[in-house]
């Protein structure tokens, strides 16, 4: 039985990792919805949800319970299987991208060295791109299957927006990859930990483009055209109710967390705590500090997302396309050429 002779402990270890990361992402997403409402409220001089539990902390649980208790409606003329597949796909795609994020330096438990990353694949960033692009299928399938013209329009918008902005995002990323020379997120983070500066110093324009495109990918305001209430009623999830709607709303928040994590890893040193020598403490404690640092960076990014959302109004559709094709892509190309020239000149 040679086929069973591989390291079973490794499988268990990875399964535990996956469980922890998936449930942690769900938990964080749950409280991101709460954070969103609180941030929105505070920016608008309101107190926000404050009734359920102390400081309203149980509000996300109440929201979840409400969504689950709601009646599940599938429209008569909807394509039933696609209608169910849509939210599932959106959720799966957004959860899958957490597989390649390095959460910290390895820890040592029970005499084993455990990597705080589900899979260190050497094409990490490409994998993220592939999975994130799948997320738009969730929206498209949901919008198509609803048999509702507003949902369909919204799905069309989401698809064209995602395609337009993924281009600029990829081009911004190419410039980063030229400086790092690796597609593996773990390698990129390690380079930043050992190197002098974080990648943001080398790629400020690239980060800016990436950030704007990430916002567009997550369908966040000012790029939330698929959810434009005043033109499309509610957008692609108009016909959805109960937890299927919850999945769509949740997927958006998980996308936000994941893109924050990726931006933190690629441009802001990932789990690297600046001005702190990790070798002075025990490796396990250093790893925990790393995880905490990454989480803090993620929270800061999420706050930035929310802050922008509650400041800027939504783009018009032609403005969105103009920005994507006429500004972001040329800018990203320029950034790429500039990086290439600087690398050639050995600066």
């Amino acid at each position: 039985m040679t086929i069973l002779s591989f390291d079973w402990a490794f499988v268990v270890e990875k399964l535990i990792m996956i469980a922890i990361i998936v449930f942690a992402s769900l938990g964080i997403a749950l409280y991101t919805t709460f954070g969103e409402r609180k941030v929105a409220a505070i920016l608008q001089d309101r107190p926000g949800p404050s009734r359920a539990g102390p400081f309203g902390l149980l509000q996300p649980l109440a929201d979840g319970l409400k969504l689950i208790m709601k009646e599940e409606i599938i429209p008569t003329h909807a394509n039933k299987w696609l209608f169910i597949l849509g939210p599932g796909l959106a959720m799966t795609a957004s959860l899958m991208s957490c597989a390649v994020i390095p959460w910290g330096t390895p820890i040592h438990v029970f005499g084993r060295t455990v990597e705080l990353q589900i899979a260190d694949i050497n094409i990490g960033i490409l994998y993220v791109f592939a999975v994130v692009s799948m997320g738009v299928y969730g929206i498209m399938i949901g919008g198509w299957a609803s048999n509702n013209k507003f949902s369909l329009m919204s799905a069309l918008r989401a698809a064209s927006q995602a395609i337009s902005y993924e281009l600029a995002m990829g081009l911004a990323l190419i410039a980063l990859l030229m400086t790092t020379g690796s597609l593996s997120l773990k390698t990129i983070v390690e380079q930043q930990v050992t190197g002098h500066w974080w990648n943001i110093v080398y790629q400020p324009l690239g980060f800016f483009i990436f950030f704007v495109c990430a916002m567009a990918e997550c369908n966040r305001t000012p790029f939330d055209l698929p959810e434009a209430e005043n033109e499309l009623n509610f957008g692609y999830h108009q016909e959805y109710s109960s937890m299927k709607l919850g999945f769509y709303l949740f997927a958006e928040y998980i996308n936000m967390i994941m893109s924050s994590a990726i931006m933190a890893s690629m441009y802001f040193g990932g789990y690297d705590l600046p001005f702190f020598d990790e070798t002075t403490v025990a490796p396990n404690i250093a790893a925990m500090i790393g995880v905490g640092t990454l989480l803090i960076k993620i929270v800061l990014f999420i706050f930035l997302f929310m802050w922008i959302r509650w400041t800027i109004p939504r783009f018009r559709y032609d403005q969105l396309m103009n920005l994507g094709w006429k500004t972001m892509i040329p800018l990203a190309l320029f950034n790429m050429l500039l990086t290439g020239a600087l690398i050639l000149a050995k600066l």
Binding site: I42, L43, Q44, D45, R46, P47, S50, W307, I308, W310, T311, I312
Partner: protein, 178 residues
């Protein structure tokens, strides 16, 4: 064109400059404005725990007053019903019989006194019309009920607690309503 106020501003239709078209500066300005609002005082009053002070002329639900000895002041003269522009008040008069002197202040009293709170517009004209200081508008407001019938307030709903026999109830009612 002659403007009525000096606040009118001509619309600037000049094409936007490069920096204006970037929107970035304005976006950052806007974000600083929203950020500054994080430190502003919230005007919210957390209602059931905190209450806003009423103005002294606030007109809420009606009460039927008693005198110091706990006798009903209302003599069912009907002036409030006449004054009421919404025709919300109805009453039936009755004669006080022997032995009821501790209940009613004068020889005539209201056997039935009803205010339809759905019709009432809380103008306070009944209060002004009353010659016997019997009907007053309190500071209680926002009644809720499941049926329309529940909004027709009769004498048991309107009369204040008897200061002689239910002094504590009166005190609490005043405390809640004040």
């Amino acid at each position: 064109m002659q403007t009525l106020t000096n606040k009118a501003q001509a619309v600037n239709r000049a094409p936007m400059s490069f920096w204006e078209r970037l929107y970035l500066i304005n976006i950052i300005k806007g974000m600083l404005i929203t950020f500054s609002h994080m430190f502003k005082k919230q005007p919210t009053i957390h209602y059931p725990e905190q209450k806003r002070e009423f103005s002294p002329v606030f007109r809420g639900l009606h009460v039927l007053n008693r005198d110091e000895e706990g006798r009903e002041r209302c003599t069912a003269c009907g002036l409030c019903a006449v004054a009421c522009p919404a025709e919300a008040i109805t009453m039936e008069a009755a004669e006080r019989i022997e032995g009821e002197e501790h209940l009613y202040r004068e020889e005539k009293y209201a056997a039935k006194y009803e205010i339809n709170m759905l019709r009432c517009i809380f103008c306070g004209l009944c209060e002004e019309a009353c010659p016997k200081d019997a009907v007053y508008l309190s500071e209680t407001f926002a009644p809720a009920n499941y049926t329309r019938k529940g909004f027709i307030y009769g004498k048991p709903d309107l009369l204040i607690p008897n200061p002689k026999t239910e002094a504590t109830a009166l005190a609490t009612a005043k405390g809640v309503e004040a």
